[in-house]
Amino acid sequence: MGGRRQFGVTAILAVALLGLPACGGGGGGGAPPTLQVILNALEVLTQPAGPSSPFGSTVGGDRVRITGQNFATGTTATFNGVAAGIESIAPTAIVVVSPAGAEGAADVAVTVPGAGSATLTGVFQFIAPPVILSIAALTGPTSGENRAPIAGNETMEVRGQNLRAPLVVRVGTTNITATVVDPNTATFAVPSQSNEGALDIMVTTPEGMSSTLTRGLLYTQEFSLDRQNDSLTVERATHLYRRAGFGAPPDVINAAVAQGLTATINQLTTFTNDSAVEVEADEAYGRLVLPTNLGTRPNKEWWIHLLQHNPNPLQERLAFFLHDHFATSERDMASTFRWTLNRQVNSFRRFTLATTDTLNNGDAGLGWSWRQILIEMGRDRAMLDWLDGRVSQRGRPNENYARELWELFMLGEGVGYTEQDVQEAARAFTGFYWFNDRTDTTNAFLDIAYRLTRHDAEEKTIFGVTGFFGYDNIAPFLEGDPAATTDSRDTDGGIVALTLQERPQEASEFICRKLAQFFLYDAPHESVVDELATALRAPGPNQWNLKPIVEMILRSKAMYSSAAMKSQVKSPVDYTIGFLRSTGIDLGENVTQSASRVRILLGEIGQLPLEPPDVNGWPSGLLWMGAQSMLERVNFLRDAILTLDDVSADIDPLLPPAGQRSPAQLVDHLASILGVQLSGNARTQFINYVTSQLSGDTVVAFAFDPANDAHLRMKTRGLIWMIAQFYDGHLN
């Protein structure tokens, strides 16, 4: 019986027999005895057994097996008078297909030509089948979407029809009993999953009828800061290096894959300053020795060289993040003051160094301390000039730095402070002024100093706290006492310390949101920001230390979610420095020529380091995209491939091994190095390009020979130019 329940036989037999006289009445006495149809039992083959059996769907279509006697060719059946389809007829059993019917019990009648009819009264139940139409989260970060975080535990709503309790929802292979709100609505707690992806959703009613939404629920790991498993694919390693280091050549990617995620992140975040590359840059541009070469030292080229060549890529990547954050420009700066930008960039470059590590100019690392870099910017010469700290004095405060410190650097516009607070903090930021160093009369240069009489040392009320507030650190600028780190009258400390103390939540959320936007994706959910910010402000040795935060992001499942990977638009610096790092191409014969060409090209594309448009930094995302800037990227690639003029030297590192240089192998290998996912169309077109040439305006065959250096040079240059400008190549 296959577990199916058959309708009781005896009563039906009686019903059938009772009908006998009427059915057989047509014959006269003496006629041969007529065979009479007899029905024994009914079984639904397409529905499970259950308390309601036998039953079928109100929409019909169920296969029903009826057993009895004397079935014959021409047998018909009806459900509540509506004809059923006949699938097969045997003398003791027929299989029919139920028609549609109204909800409730139905009579099933069978008629055999010459053998009369029999009816099973009320034997079959028509039951409305469940339908699942849609699914959506009611709670959590995916609220309103047919998505769920892999952590699960959010409430999801199923919308459909004929949902009856107890309703079972099956997510993948997990069964959950749902709460039926009404026949069209049910809710359930979504289970967790270990990976992201789409799963089928099935609902099953108590009768066992079900409905499935194929790939109806998308699991996403974009909200999970849990650890990603340690194994790295090439795709993930490339992604990690793009985000944490602009990009990396194949050998670095392969090493990362070999050693796994934890070791790679450790290598990225824990390092000492690489003196070789510092010396290389200093030798190319002249080491900054005050006051001899302060006006002529090209800060941009110097940093471009480091951005491209520093073996600690995260040091430069985060330094550029900080440069964009504390955006200061040397564009309108006096030539005798531009050296201060070199110092500021080095403050960003030593942010990631341990506090015992030093840069060439002797300044110690900041140990990733958010508090320290904020304090450092408060007394940074370039910043004091850029945002007018050097001209703000007692009685005539300048609001510029106070406003931007909170709006752009620490809290966000209008978050946790008032206009009154800005005006009071502006009073705290008084005391610095221009100082023309006369100690060396032939090489006088502009510098900055702090004079007690220029500082407003009266009480201020900020965040509702009244006290004597000033700069957090003024060393070594106090006239007459370079060792003093604070103005002794500012007994209640500096504004950075006050802000971190009074507005810890706002301050931690602000920088964590920005880091998540930088490393993960453009619009991090508040739950992610909150988790990071809570860790950042938690009292303890790591309070306000960004290293654990950056590490948490880089190793998280969110980092490798589909929401994060290739979700950002490369800025011009991302695009150019990433291209040069991934390919190992230099744009010139030597350090100075190469960096100077990159500097010119970055100027044309519109992101010149040390010249951000304003204190808000550069635009981001699609704001970078425009027809002209696209062509400027294309022309950057042109300039880059022009330097590939020697197969044995420049091009060989970019090629697959000899013997594996078919057109398709060349395309795939170069696309992998460049981190570009080609569409099928583009891949085909580019492969065909290798074996094509123009004859007038017509494309004709070209006998490409991979052993011919001239062929290799020409086509490799072309392929790099085409693949790197394909739209996927602009995604970060």
Partner: protein, 439 residues
């Protein structure tokens, strides 16, 4: 020199709903097949927005020399008096008198001559309700055209909405063009991809000089690939793809349509000079492009300190570039189609700070220039919402009196001949194109 065409549209408007679609719009003639029927408005007309980024000091641009609070509260940096005589104007420099009361900055001679020609209208005290003193928030309000919750809105900028409504043929990205300022949020659009351009000469693909024939093949393969590509779903990828495709499609057209451009040789080499020169080049293709709004500008106006010299240099840049552009437009017979509007995200504080500069303020002066502008000889004297003594005698901020969206709406309706409704969807504010009398 300008000949105003008097349009009695105000009476038309009074009889009609704000919809203003009843304004007679000259039919688009068969100028070029690329000018699609989706484009509305008066052919040839265009607006050039010049944004002075950073918050320009309108009080030292349109100078209320006759108001003593201006002089008193800017003891070191007022331009009413010379340095050493109670002000900051360089000795020997002369402001340009407008009406015996207000003066233009001493470096604004070209713009003063437009005043004399009846081609300049000044609107003061321009801002929006509850002015914000953050550069970036205020710029966003100008870009989105919505006072509050612009980030929760549809994400479109006012020029994006304008392009969607009035230049919505997807193959026609030239209805609004950003010259030099990149893809500002103003251009965020649902359906159109506006052209973002900086320089015509470099708007092309450089060849691989060693393999010029193979380079020609590469370009062809790229065009073929982009042409045959199924557009990728979703952003940011789709916009990158569109931009790439658009760039290749527009190179030949931009180059060929601007090839006949005559360089008057008078554009200054400043940032704004270059951008207005680019604008003039693109206008050479106006019959094909049908561009309605050019958006450009330059920065450096955040004069918190040592304002006198910095501000003077910026005024020179504005004056020289706009003067060259105006002469070029006159020579090319486009001045009557031209409407320049000079804006900034906010004005500056009434009083000077301790650094010989000024901090962020509220209301500011807008300059409107063009052959059809109602200037000094027309009703309203060419000065709207002028500053009076009580505005600045005790207040720290020049007050807000004119909403910038009223000005934009009048330009859209009366100059471009398009319906401004739907472009500033602010539930708390409905722009009134009749609020002023500029065009």
């Amino acid at each position: 020199m300008s000949r105003k065409r008097r349009i009695s549209r105000r009476s038309v408007l009074r009889g009609a709903a704000l919809g203003a679609a009843s304004i007679a719009v000259t039919p688009i003639l068969s100028m070029n097949r690329r000018v699609s029927a989706a484009q509305t408005g008066i052919p040839g007309r265009f607006v050039v927005v010049i944004n002075m980024l950073g918050g320009a000091d309108g009080l030292n641009m349109v100078i209320p020399s006759h108001l003593s609070p201006y002089v008193d509260r800017r003891a070191n940096i007022n331009l009413a008096n010379e340095a050493g005589s109670g002000g900051g104007r360089p000795v020997g420099a002369s402001n340009h008198d407008l009406d015996g009361r207000f003066q233009l900055h001493y470096n604004m001679g070209n713009i003063k001559s437009m005043w004399d020609e009846n081609d300049l209208h000044i609107v003061n005290k321009v801002s929006y309700p509850n002015p914000n003193q953050s550069h970036f928030t205020s710029q966003d309000i100008f870009s989105f055209g919505v006072r509050d919750n612009f980030s929760d809105g549809d994400g479109r900028g006012w020029l994006g909405r304008f392009a969607d409504l009035h230049c919505s043929n997807p193959s026609e990205p030239l209805g609004v063009i950003s010259v030099g300022l990149g893809r500002r949020p103003d251009f965020n659009s649902a359906t159109t991809a506006p052209l973002i351009l900086r320089n015509v000469a470099s708007f092309q693909v450089d060849p691989d000089t060693e393999f010029t024939d193979d380079h020609a093949l590469r370009e062809k393969v790229m065009r073929d690939t982009l042409g045959a590509e199924v557009p990728p779903p979703g952003n940011p990828t789709l916009t990158i793809f569109d931009t790439s495709k658009q760039a290749y499609e527009l190179i030949d057209r931009v180059q060929s349509e601007t090839a006949e451009w005559v360089d008057p040789g008078t554009y200054p080499t400043s940032t704004l000079g270059n951008y207005l020169k680019t604008t003039s080049q693109l206008l050479q293709g106006q019959s094909s492009f049908g561009t309605k709004v050019f958006y450009t500008g330059f920065g450096g106006f955040d004069t918190h300190s040592n304002e006198i010299g910095r501000h003077a240099n910026l005024m020179t840049q504005l004056n020289d570039a706009v003067g060259a552009f105006r002469n070029d437009m006159v020579a090319k017979n486009k001045w009557n189609d031209c409407m320049i509007v000079v804006i900034s995200e906010f004005g500056r504080r009434v009083f000077e700070n301790g650094s010989f500069g000024t901090d962020h303020g509220h209301g500011n002066a807008f300059l409107l220039m063009g052959g059809r502008v109602k200037g000094r000889l027309d009703a309203g004297s060419g000065l709207s919402a002028e500053i009076i003594e009580s505005d600045i005698d005790t207040e720290n901020f020049v007050p807000f009196a004119v909403d910038f969206r009223d000005i934009y709406s009048e330009l859209l309706l009366d100059h471009l001949g398009v319906d401004p409704s739907g472009i500033f969807p602010d539930p708390t504010f409905t722009p009134d194109p009749s609020a002023l009398n500029i065009v």
